[in-house]
């Protein structure tokens, strides 16, 4: 499983035409546990900086992450 930590995020209210149906939607940059960063989208609950996330799916090359609930 691909895991990471939210480095930054924003919710987009004024999207390009292609993404009008999705708005508002959350965009994020994730620092991957295995190194490097990727730009992607969020599925489900809103995420915040430093939240743990997991890769939920890949849609045409765009990674979609969701909040990871980790036992503490």
């Amino acid at each position: 499983m691909t895991l990471g930590t939210v480095y930054s995020e924003t919710t987009i209210f004024a999207p390009p035409r292609e993404f009008l149906a999705d708005a508002p939607y959350q965009l994020l940059i994730v620092t991957l546990d295995d190194g490097g960063r990727v730009t992607g989208r969020v599925l489900g609950d809103t995420v915040h900086i430093d939240d743990r996330v997991e890769l939920a799916e890949d849609r045409g090359g765009v990674p979609f992450f969701r909040l990871r609930i980790e036992a503490s």
């Binding site: 930054s8 924003t10 987009i12 390009p16 035409r17 009008l20 965009l27 730009t39």
Partner: protein
């Protein structure tokens, strides 16, 4: 490199001008710059044009000779430079480099963009092409969204607030209201800025710069010949262009622009000056957060304190370090490809003491900083009056 001077400047007003096409705007600015120095078009030895997306916005390519020809400049090298928002900053860098290297004496550098004839969603799509279309674009990132990511991280690490961002917008609107050529001459309150329509959280419409038409031009020559053309030459003391990855997620730290820091270091070194020597600056406030990061990267405020510095009024016209006395991209306007040369024009006005109601008291040394995309191109210029 031999010393280079700006001997003439000209710009159009910035705004929405349905009756003026791209060429008419560029010709107006270019002719004003030539007239300012009393130079005829036939004397121009090379023309550099900064333009981001003329082919996409207005369906015309081959823009440099297209515009030069309309001004009566023919037979000489005419080159278009594209570097997103830093297109004309880069054109200026190349023009100064050519004069400095001794290739030419009289060089015209212009920037132009005609944006308001396109529908808003199309404008957003064209602007997004300044990012990495294969990753950021595909994920649905807009240009405001990239700077919103920067803002969120900056707020998280340094305690920057939305009130700090709003202070930048309020200050630049106040300055724009003093600039007869500004697109937006409307004073706003912090409450208005904070209550603006959300574009990409935390950035509201008031954190975003405008979509404008406009052009700006400067005429260059070797410093040793400057007095043939003007009694008030402005010398290029320091100049650097740098680059970085286009994609924001490739940067180790998005709360700064490494290319900006590098360009600043080089320009300061070339000028033999430091941040404290700069009397005023025009920085690239495509978004309010970009001005906050810029004043940190340029050394005007310590890292992480740019928001506080702005909120405390230090960057106002009467402050310790006036920034964007023209109104900046926020209020003066943002015809993308014209922004870099327009900054030079505004500094020339200030250094000459011709900035009218927005004139600052100390105006010997001015710094311009032009940024392309989310920091992949940066140009820093330091200008000074010639005693």
């Amino acid at each position: 490199m031999r010393p280079v001077a700006v001997i003439g400047m000209g710009k159009t007003a910035f705004g929405a001008f349905p009756q003026k096409d791209l060429r008419a705007l560029a010709v107006e600015a270019g002719q004003k710059a030539l007239a300012d120095a009393g130079v005829a078009p036939e004397q121009v030895e090379a023309f550099y044009l900064g333009n981001f997306a003329g082919p996409s916005f207005v369906g015309q390519s081959h823009l440099a000779p297209y515009i030069a020809g309309a001004m009566g400049i023919t037979g000489v090298p005419c080159t278009r430079v594209e570097a997103a928002c830093a297109s004309s900053g880069s054109a200026f860098f190349h023009g100064v480099s050519a004069v400095g290297a001794g290739l030419y004496d009289l060089v015209l550098v212009s920037g132009v963009e005609k944006m308001t004839s396109a529908e808003t969603p199309r404008v957003a799509e064209i602007l997004a092409m300044a990012g990495d279309c294969a990753t950021e674009g595909k994920a649905g990132a807009t240009f405001p969204a990239l700077f919103a990511l920067i803002a969120k991280r900056h707020m998280h690490q340094f305690g920057t607030t939305r009130e700090h961002l709003a202070a930048v917008a309020v200050k630049n609107h106040a300055n724009g209201a003093k600039n007869p050529d500004a697109h937006m001459k409307k004073v706003i309150t912090p409450q208005q800025a904070l209550a603006g329509k959300m574009i990409a959280d935390p950035l509201t419409i008031y954190d975003c710069s405008l979509v404008s038409d406009g052009a700006a031009s400067v005429l260059l020559c070797p410093l040793e010949r400057a007095h043939e053309f003007t009694s008030q030459p402005v010398r290029v003391l320091g100049l650097a262009q740098t680059s970085d990855y286009v994609a924001l997620d490739r940067k180790a730290d998005i709360t700064c622009f490494p290319a900006l820091q590098a360009a600043a270091r080089k320009a300061y070194q070339m000028a033999g000056l430091g941040p404290d020597d700069v009397d005023l600056a025009e920085v690239h406030d495509c978004f309010t957060i970009a001005e906050i990061v810029a004043i940190e990267d340029l050394g005007f405020a310590p890292k992480g304190r740019g928001g506080f510095f702005s909120f405390d009024g230090e960057t106002a016209i009467g402050g310790s370090k006036p920034v964007n006395t023209s109104g900046g991209l926020k209020a003066k306007g943002r015809p993308v490809g014209a922004t870099g040369v327009a900054q030079i024009c505004d500094l020339v006005l200030q250094i000459r003491g011709e900035a009218g109601e927005r004139q600052v008291a100390k105006h010997r040394i001015g710094l311009a900083q032009n940024l392309g995309g989310s920091g992949a191109t940066c140009v820093v210029t330091i200008l000074g009056g010639v005693a």
